[in-house]
């Protein structure tokens, strides 16, 4: 299908701060979906609560804004109800690594066909700058005045440990490379997580565009083997002077929905509902008494 990023244009103007990394991510999502040949009606974007979770409003797609931390359960339900849809979860580091961390581990373990885009700006931006689960240890914020005492959660290491079949990292300051990653992720069979490094220009004064630009490098061309899970894990632990981006790990295994017998005849939403006979209803009710 001939699709362009313009087909994803929404009439809503983003309310993000000027320079926010979310603009690069929104752009890359539109470009990546178009490059993969997906039309807007074939896509559902499920988000949570946070600055970045406003994204579905700014793209012409099917959208579902859920509760904070809960995009993955809703996306899982949507995928099982209509596995013909390309289901994408978009949420921040607070949403995915805080309240939603349990869901994250299980989505990876299940290999459910969801693309999980983590807008990782290492801060709670919407609530004005508290430290988040992915904030670096020692970072000073309004809720960590003596520096954060906690180790940062590592989305890719967690995903790989849980059994994710696709793990990648992009940078909001390189929207083209991120769009390429998203185009690959949406073609992946099963769960695909993309950890997106994203500056928060208002509240995270440490992890800026320049800070990232000095450190990020592309794994492609370094000899990294994306089918090697142990090597991918080692790369996931690399952080500091050099930060890897690109595809860390990619293997093709049956997705969850491919293994559900009831879904093999096609998406549930396409099935004709058959009216039950009174006898069938009574039989069903009898199961509960």
């Amino acid at each position: 299908m001939d699709v362009s990023a313009k087909d994803y244009a929404s009439d809503q103007k983003p309310t993000w701060c000027p320079g926010c990394g979310d603009y690069g991510i929104l752009n890359a999502v539109k470009q990546g979906l178009a490059a993969a040949g997906l039309a807007p009606h074939q896509v559902l974007i499920v988000s949570g609560i946070g600055c970045g979770s406003k994204l579905p409003d700014y793209a012409r797609v099917n959208g579902f804004m859920t509760l904070h931390g809960r995009p993955l359960p809703v996306a899982t339900g949507a995928k099982l109800a209509n596995h013909g849809l390309k289901v994408i979860a978009v949420h921040g580091d607070g949403d995915s690594m805080g309240l939603g961390m349990g869901h994250f581990i299980h989505a990876a373990r299940r290999n459910i066909g969801i693309v999980d885009l983590i807008q990782n700006n290492q801060i709670y931006g919407l609530t004005k700058g508290q430290y988040s689960p992915t904030s670096e240890q020692g970072v000073v914020t309004s809720t960590s005045p003596d520096g954060s005492f906690e180790q940062a959660a590592n989305p890719l290491a967690l995903a790989l440990a849980a059994g994710a079949t696709f793990a990648a990292r992009g940078f909001a300051g390189d929207a083209k490379a991120l769009a390429d990653l998203i185009a690959v992720a949406v073609r992946h069979r099963g769960y695909a997580v993309v950890d997106i490094l994203q500056p928060c220009v208002t509240f995270n004064k440490r992890n800026t565009y320049d800070w990232f630009r000095e450190r990020v490098y592309d794994l492609a061309g370094t000899g990294h083997d994306p089918s090697d899970r142990v090597a991918a894990f080692a790369k996931a632990l690399e952080w500091g002077e050099r930060i890897p981006t690109g595809i860390f790990y990619e293997v093709q295994l049956p997705s969850y929905e491919e293994q559900v017998a009831a879904l093999q005849e096609g998406p549930l939403v396409k099935r004709q509902l058959e009216k039950l006979t009174p006898e069938q209803v009574e039989g069903l009710l009898a199961e509960f008494v």
Binding site: P14, Y23, N27, G173
Partner: protein
């Protein structure tokens, strides 16, 4: 909808400093066609709006809000990268 630099540009350069994707380049100084201005690559602009408030001469507009008298700037910005020196001028 990309941002556009119009002929109000005074070559201050604050826009290029704040652009998170580095898609704003100054035309080569003295170049009769391109030297008057900085230019935004419409294909790489992520529409974040960081540049517009930095501009001391209010020369930068979102494409759909460019005043009628500066409309030709939309094509000019594009042409700087398509036909002109583009990123090689950096």
């Amino acid at each position: 909808m990309a941002y556009v630099i119009t002929e109000l540009c005074i070559r201050d350069g604050s826009c290029a400093e704040v652009c998170p994707v580095e898609c704003i380049v100054a035309g080569p100084e003295g170049d009769p066609k391109w030297g008057k201005s900085y230019w935004i690559n419409p294909d790489d602009c992520i529409e974040c709006g960081a540049c517009a408030p930095e501009c001391p001469s209010d020369a930068i507009f979102p494409e759909d809000e460019v005043p009628d008298e500066h409309k030709e700037a939309i094509a000019e910005n594009r042409a700087f990268y398509a036909e002109g020196p583009g990123y090689s001028a950096r």
